[in-house]
């Protein structure tokens, strides 16, 4: 279970105007602006639920994921995941979660994928039997047989993403955070990834928190969505209820766009 209560977080950003004069001036003096990345957000995700976490760029999605995975400490608020505070009991906590960053890779670039997997096995101290079972299952479900022996740098984006997802699940985490897992993928790879996540959730009751800009991801995977904008939770409800509010809208994208307009984000 993921419990988030009144969590806030802010950052400092430097500003400068254009031109030579301004450039010279900023040698001595720089202006900073405080950006409120998260402003008292709260939500609760019970075990086994799949939730879509959406919002425009810079809304605070990644900060939330970082806080939930123990990389970032919030200024205020409480987070409890399966009874642990992520940033206080980091090592115990991360053993139980899997994280996929769509824009970054965790595979070692120059070695075959399977070697990266074996190293992860040792890092997480996964017992042999469990590792072999997981590997077999993931290989079958994500169709990895052909690519396990290829160095990561030679994989296509879709192949790599399938490997990334497998890499995050080798230690059988109970919770999976997916940060834009389908970004840049072709239609076939997208469907394969979605299909896999659905099966995973069904079979293992893995809790999934998914951020994405692809509304079809949401439609396929999440019954519940949380909308965040300018660091605040604007909406938290089921997708079907939301659809009823917009009976005339034809596509999900249009619906989300009008939601963004409604909240001026």
């Amino acid at each position: 279970m993921i419990q988030v209560e009144n969590v806030s977080k802010s950052f400092r950003v430097a500003k400068r105007n254009a031109g030579l004069k301004e450039a010279v001036k900023s040698l001595w003096y720089r202006k900073y602006e405080v950006v409120q990345a998260l402003d008292r957000i709260s939500f609760l995700i019970p075990e086994g639920e799949m939730v879509g976490y959406i919002g425009p760029n810079g809304a605070g999605k990644s900060s939330t994921i970082k806080i939930l995975s123990g990389i970032l400490t919030p200024e205020e608020g409480l987070v409890s995941i399966n009874g642990r505070i992520p940033w206080k009991q980091r090592k115990e906590h991360v053993r139980e979660i899997g994280v996929v960053f769509g824009q970054r890779t965790q595979l070692w670039w120059d070695v075959p994928v399977i070697d990266s997997f074996c190293l992860l096995k040792d890092i997480y101290a996964v017992p042999n039997i469990e590792f072999n079972n997981n590997l077999e299952e993931l290989t079958a479900l994500l169709h990895l047989e052909e690519i396990l022996r290829t160095p990561a740098r030679q994989l296509s984006l879709g192949q790599r993403m399938r490997c990334e997802i497998a890499a995050s699940l080798l230690h059988s985490p109970k919770i999976l955070f997916l940060d834009e897992p389908t970004i840049g993928l072709d239609a076939v790879s997208k469907l394969a990834v979605r299909d896999f996540i659905l099966k995973l959730n069904e079979a293992k009751k893995t809790t999934v928190l998914l951020t994405t800009h692809d509304m079809q991801d949401i439609e396929a995977l999440a019954k519940r969505i949380i909308l965040i904008g300018k660091g605040r939770i604007l909406l938290d409800g089921s997708l079907s209820e939301l659809k009823e509010q917009f009976p005339n809208r034809e596509s999900l994208d249009e619906m989300i766009a009008s939601l963004y307009r409604r909240y001026q984000i």
Binding site: R16, G19, L20, A23, S26, L27
Partner: protein, 267 residues
């Protein structure tokens, strides 16, 4: 011409934004200059008769070298350009109505000037306050000052023209990083970065002084302190002109050849 100047200006503005890097650079230059002088002082105190320069001339050499590092070193290069070449994005640059050689050489000049502008004054001021013969002193005569200025400009251009050769060679070599680093290490030795050229053994020294590498920093830094003067200075400056022309010509020809090959291959 205007377009190249504004390219230089843009790079200059971008360059002076890195004030933290400049601050760190200044500190490094103080420390490095101080260390060099400490080392040579030991040898100077050991045996003054075998010391091939005046101690004051050596101190001037070291402090000018530190302050103007960005102008004279061969290894001030832009990674953007290497990436552009290795990833085949040069084709985009060719779409612009500019001469590629000029574009890159002005970029490089902008980068170097911005770094030198931020660093030279603080280094010179502090070095000037050090007691003789370990600090930086004004050139002995107005004449040597004028010659230094001329030679420094030529040295700067020589360094830029040489870095153009390094960029262009990227089209022809594989494993760029390794080869480049290897060459630059050799250049450091031959240009008088590792030890000033007068400290090289006789016989080797005379040859090294004729190479283009000596035209980058060796000539201006030694003219400043009067270590090279009179007809020798004139000769050094002529040599600088010769190498500058030769390197620009070589760079242009090699670049044209490389580009024609790319166009044939279609990128």
């Amino acid at each position: 011409m205007q377009k190249y100047i504004s390219l230089l200006r843009m790079k200059f503005i971008a360059g002076i934004q890195y004030r933290a890097a400049a601050f760190a650079g200044i500190l490094t230059q103080y420390a490095w200059g101080g260390m060099e002088i400490l080392i040579y002082r030991c040898f100077y105190l050991e045996n003054q008769t075998d010391f091939p320069m005046q101690m004051q001339a050596l101190s001037n050499y070291v402090w000018l070298q530190q302050g103007l590092l960005a102008l004279f070193m061969a290894w001030i290069l832009e990674n953007d350009i290497f990436e552009m070449i290795t990833h085949g994005n040069v084709a985009y640059e060719l779409c612009r109505p500019c001469d590629l050689y000029n574009m890159w050489i002005f970029r490089n000049m902008g980068v170097r000037l911005s770094r030198a502008a931020l660093r030279c004054l603080p280094v010179f001021v502090v070095a000037a306050l050090l007691p003789a013969p370990y600090g930086l002193k004004l050139p002995p005569t107005p004449g040597s000052a004028g010659l230094f200025l001329l030679s420094a400009i030529l040295g700067f251009l020589n360094a830029v023209a040489f870095s153009m050769l390094i960029y262009v060679s990227t089209f022809y070599t594989f494993s760029i990083q390794g080869t480049r680093a290897f060459c630059l290490a050799v250049v450091d030795l031959l240009s008088g970065k590792v030890i000033p050229i007068p400290f090289l053994p006789d016989g080797i020294r005379q040859i090294v002084e004729l190479l283009p590498f000596a035209s980058m920093q060796n000539a201006p830094l030694r003219i400043y302190g009067g270590d090279i003067a009179g007809p020798q200075a004139a000769q050094a400056i002529l040599l600088q002109c010769f190498w500058l022309a030769a390197m620009i010509l070589a760079g242009r020809i090699l670049l044209r050849k490389a580009l024609s090959r790319i166009v044939v291959q279609g990128g």
